[in-house]
């Protein structure tokens, strides 16, 4: 291409392409969108956790001046006859039908031109319920006589859920089982057996831009503008609900003010689609912060883990039972249950493994994907368990991990042989950074110091598809069309760097076209740290395809292949004027083998492994239980960093988010009600909650299957944070916490109980 072009776009800490637009307030967000003739919707929500709807009285709301319409499920069914949606199960009604299954479930919607009028009218709606007993705990849900769904309705997208079709009388939405080796025998022969149970609490993603969607009816078409991480899925699912071909539904996104898994699959999109068709005018719904807590959460979990250890401190068998509290609608919980089930036994080389992982329906707000897809809950348990075993055996926790660590070339629990997973390297770098072998200041007076570490890993989601189009315009400039959503993780910049590397041009000259299903091609979704790997490949292939076409054009014009005739000049020679395009297309779907239904084994569980570890130094105030994290070290294997600076912020950002889930955040329920659906009482970390020192490092590693050696990073730093801190607390004051969050009162109570 141009003679001044630079190679070396990979590994370049290019500032984010959208940085300037964001800090100057010019970046596009759906939140700011105003459509001509638009009405605003305000959702009326259930006040009970489980109940039969006796009556919804909308008369007073309808009578309020300025109200355009009040809509219930009866109206929705006029435009969508079977209004149930969901990626795993078609279990979630657009508005509640007959029953409500969690507090905050949408029951009705008021439409008005003035959002304040809509809100005012919403408060005038009266609903009466025959309350039903509710089940809220994931372990109780296994055996409870309270059944959340009368029959299970798998969406048919996951082949592994088909056997659940129509099953009745259970809250189990998915059970995943893995059996490897002879667990029974190994336990019988064990020198030591350890068993512990760990729990995690309900928390929320808290994107600072709450969910927002708008739908605009056209002539037999529908355009949905939505802050979504999965525009392609939204189109497919809305088209399915309407019984329309996909080409009549158009889904557009803009920048997202954070996603973290909250804005995946369908959230408000089916609702605004139905409302727009009913109203015959554009409808927009912008959630308030409190409503997000009722929309999607992170799975609370209970994890019973049991290990057999031989006389040399080698783990010979492990039994894992994990219960996932999926809330009232499955969302993508079944996939969390299965994919995380693969790695529940931890990054250790264990010959005999039994894993049982259950996705459960309860009368809680739905749970879905949240930065780590279940992995942080698992690592919390298995890395706490690891330290507890080491402590009990009097072995240094690092040494104990080294004896058991899973190395490349060895099979993991599913039987898949590890490759390009630098688990040992991550551990080594943590140990070095912590100065593990050097003496450590243990504090004085009432403040005690301790340090701990933890390492976790994750199988990427598979198999999923990404498609990219690269368009070279007549002047030689470049547009990159892909449906990866930049929600703050810097994907626009990374994709531009990948395209630029292939085309040998500066990445900042690549224009990334944002998801618009009429324009940009299919992508499964922006989730699970999959974009760099999957879309990265598709973009690379699209750019390579374009190069091949440039070379063909050169050959066509008799220009020698190595020449530096600018592309614009080639076009001019070809078409006699500034005209034409070169369109490169690339698509990518990795190979994958589904786990065997009975044994959970597969030779190919994942296209790549993500590995993340955390080291923590803490100070514990033994008089009050306050824990100050003085130093937090995040080390990860993410292959080759495409953009080192963005990688570093992904690592520190992920760690800080998990720090909130570790130390502070908890949705508090009492009598079925959520007590703290607001940021005054649901406390995410503020600046002064952050550790004085946060260090992030990508180990020197290459993912041979990845584009330019890269793989995902968005979730990696979340894995080890919780157990590293709990392990450090134990090292400091000798108490063990097994339930998150690690609040001052919890620590203080543990200290008192231990008589310290």
């Amino acid at each position: 291409m141009s003679a001044t072009a630079k190679a070396g776009q990979i590994g370049r800490s290019l500032p984010r392409l959208e940085g300037r637009a964001k800090v100057t307030g010019r970046a596009e967000y759906i939140h700011n969108l105003r459509l001509p003739g638009m009405v605003h919707g305000k959702i009326f929500r259930s006040a009970v956790a489980h109940g039969r709807i006796r009556r919804v009285d909308t008369a007073a709301a309808k009578a309020l001046s300025g109200v355009f319409a009040v809509v219930t499920s009866d109206d929705i069914r006029k435009v969508i006859s079977n209004p149930y949606y969901g990626p795993a199960f078609h279990d979630q009604p657009i508005l509640a039908i007959d029953k409500v299954r969690h507090v905050g479930e949408p029951v009705a919607v008021v439409l008005a031109e003035d959002p304040h009028v809509a809100e005012e009218a919403m408060r005038l709606i009266i609903a009466e319920y025959d309350e039903l007993p509710a089940v809220t705990d994931e372990v109780e849900a296994m055996t409870s006589t309270v059944i959340v769904h009368d029959a299970l309705k798998p969406a048919g997208i996951f082949p592994d859920l088909k056997h659940l079709e129509g099953r009745k009388g259970t809250n189990v939405a998915l059970d995943f089982h893995l059996r490897r080796g002879d667990v029974k025998q190994a336990f019988a022969e064990a020198t030591h057996v350890f068993e512990h149970t760990f729990r995690t609490q309900p928390v929320m993603h808290t994107p600072l831009e709450p969910m927002v969607s708008a739908a605009e009816p056209g002539d037999g078409t529908l355009t949905i503008h939505t802050a979504s991480q999965s525009p392609s899925f939204v189109r497919m699912e809305v088209a399915r609900l309407l019984g329309w071909p996909e080409n009549r539904v158009r889904v557009k996104t803009a920048f997202l003010g954070g996603g973290f898994g909250a804005k995946l699959y369908i959230k408000l999109e089916a609702l605004v689609a139905a409302l727009a068709l009913l109203a015959r005018r554009p409808v927009k719904i912008s959630l308030a912060m409190d409503e997000q807590f009722f929309t999607i959460t992170k799975h609370p979990s209970t994890f019973r883990i049991k290990s057999a250890v031989d006389k040399d401190g080698r783990v010979t068998a492990r039994e894992c039972e994990v219960w996932w509290n999926g809330g009232a609608y499955a969302d993508v919980g079944p996939r969390v249950t299965q994919k995380s089930g693969f790695t529940a036994a931890g990054p250790y080389d264990i010959d005999n493994v039994a894993i049982d992982s259950y996705a459960l329906y309860t009368n809680r707000p739905p749970a879905g994907a949240l930065r780590g897809f279940g992995i942080p809950q698992l690592v919390w348990a298995y890395e706490s368990h690891t330290d507890m075993i080491a402590r009990a055996l009097g072995i240094d926790p690092v040494e104990f991990r080294r004896r058991n660590i899973l190395r490349d070339g060895r099979p993991q629990a599913t039987g898949t042989v590890m490759k390009d997973a630098a688990i040992d390297k991550v551990l080594d770098r943590l140990v070095q950074r912590l100065g593990w072998s050097r003496p450590f200041d243990r504090g004085q007076g009432s403040v005690k110091r301790g340090r701990g570490l933890a390492v976790g890993f994750k199988a990427s989601i598979a198999p999923t598809t990404s498609v990219a189009i690269l368009n070279l315009y007549a002047d030689g400039s470049c547009g990159l069309y892909c449906s990866t959503v930049d929600m703050g993780q810097g994907s626009d910049t990374a994709m531009a760097q990948i395209a630029a590397e292939v085309l040998d041009i500066p990445a900042e000259t690549v224009r990334v076209v944002h998801p618009d299903t009429d324009v940009t091609p299919y992508d499964m979704a922006t989730l699970g740290s999959r974009s760099t790997y999957h879309m990265g490949h598709a973009v690379k292939r699209a750019a390579e395809d374009a190069r091949v076409k440039i070379d063909a054009l050169k050959a066509d014009l008799g220009v020698p292949p190595g020449s530096n005739v600018p592309l614009a000049e080639l076009f001019r020679r070809k078409y006699g004027m500034q005209a034409g395009n070169i369109v490169g297309v690339g698509s990518f779907v990795p190979s994958y083998a589904s786990p065997d239904h009975d044994t959970g084994l597969t030779p190919n569980a994942t296209p790549f492994w993500m590995v993340g570890g955390t080291g923590a130094e803490v100070e514990v105030d033994t008089e009050t239980g306050h824990v100050r994290v003085a130093r937090l070290i995040n080390v990860a294997d993410l292959g080759t960093p495409i953009n080192p600076r963005i990688v570093e912020t992904q690592l520190s950002g992920g760690a800080i988010m998990q720090l909130g889930f570790t130390m502070q955040e908890r949705m508090e329920f009492a009598d079925g009600q959520l007590l703290n659906p607001n940021l005054a009482d649901y406390k995410i970390p503020g600046m002064r909650d952050l550790p004085a020192r946060i260090e992030s490092e990508a180990v020197d590693a290459v993912e041979r299957g990845g584009p330019f050696g890269a793989k995902g990073v968005g979730e990696t730093a979340t894995f080890g944070v919780s157990p590293a801190i709990a392990n450090a607390i134990d090292a400091a004051v000798g108490v063990r916490l097994t339930e998150l969050p690690l609040t001052p009162e919890a620590v203080y109570r543990a200290l008192r109980k231990a008589g310290r």
Binding site: T624, N676, R688, E745
Partner: protein
């Protein structure tokens, strides 16, 4: 939110006339940080808000009187109070307290009058003002009256300020030989409302004279811990006294449980933080 009137009277007198003591939907508006939250959640639906923004110089100023008394207008922003040189010099405990009150954004907008009138039991300043012996000047249709900050709040969000009255200013006597400190304890995040706050002050003549130990946030309203005060009066601080004072305070404090902690945990915190506040005040320089 439904439409309402927002008025900005040009004087205190005009403002008082626009209040309607019998209509709870008419309220004075200061920084609005508390009111806006109530309005957003639907708890408060105003008919008229009487902004005090232009209600006169007296509400807007910070002044040290010739006798050393500090006068703070009700409309003074918490951030202005935090940074005022005369306050930093003569009443360092106030600036120190404000630094951990909410966050910069709230302090830039919230006012002293709004902070006190709101009477959220979790407020940071009332215990400090009580420890320092501060008074409030209230203006109403029958003129002005002074009330001590101690006793101003009567319960959750309730005060002796009547519906037709406004806080005009706060007065704080000169510190003199008083030592003072405030220890704030949060349990959910660093910038949370306090789980409890302990303000202490005493005259230092080598021994502790006229001590005040005030507990905020953990009780229905800011409360003096008089048994602990009596215990330290006339004594000099040492480790044993700190422990005993803490224990006495925990014993007498009528703490309430909430999302920030159970009763037994908060009692422990009272014990620890009373000792810490006393130690901090004892360690700091006595006022000149």
């Amino acid at each position: 939110m439904t439409p309402f009137d927002l008025v900005e009277p040009p004087s205190l007198g005009e403002a008082l006339k626009l209040l309607e003591p019998d209509d709870s939907a008419v309220r004075p508006l200061a920084g609005g940080t508390a009111l806006m939250l109530l309005m957003k959640s639907g708890f408060f639906r105003p008919k008229r808000l009487v902004s005090l923004r232009a209600a006169g110089e007296r509400l807007a100023r910070i002044r040290i009187e010739p006798n050393g008394e500090l006068r703070i207008g009700a409309m003074v922003r918490l951030a202005a109070l935090e940074w005022a040189p005369e306050v930093r010099r003569d009443f360092p405990v106030i600036g120190h307290t404000l630094r951990t009150l909410a966050n910069v954004r709230v302090r830039n907008v919230a006012t002293l009058g709004g902070h006190l009138a709101h009477a959220d039991p979790h407020s940071d300043l009332p215990p400090v003002l009580i420890a320092l012996g501060a008074c409030l000047v209230l203006a109403g249709p029958r003129g002005e009256r002074a009330v001590p900050v101690e006793g101003f709040a009567t319960g959750h969000y309730e005060t002796v300020c009547k519906g037709d009255e406004l806080i005009v200013e706060a007065t704080i006597p000169p510190l003199g030989r008083r030592r003072a400190a405030y220890a704030k304890c949060t349990t959910r995040s660093a910038d949370d409302w306090p789980a409890l706050g302990i303000a202490v002050a005493w005259d230092d003549d080598g021994a502790i004279r006229s001590p005040r130990i005030v507990l905020g946030a953990a009780t229905e309203r800011p409360t003096r811990l008089k048994a602990a005060e009596a215990l330290i009066a006339g004594r000099t601080l040492d480790g044993a006294l700190l422990t005993r004072a803490g224990e006495a305070a925990a014993e007498e404090a009528d703490v309430v449980a909430d999302a920030r902690g159970s009763v037994s945990y908060k009692k422990q915190l009272v014990k620890v933080y009373v000792a810490r506040a006393l130690r901090a005040a004892g360690a700091g320089p006595a006022a000149p």
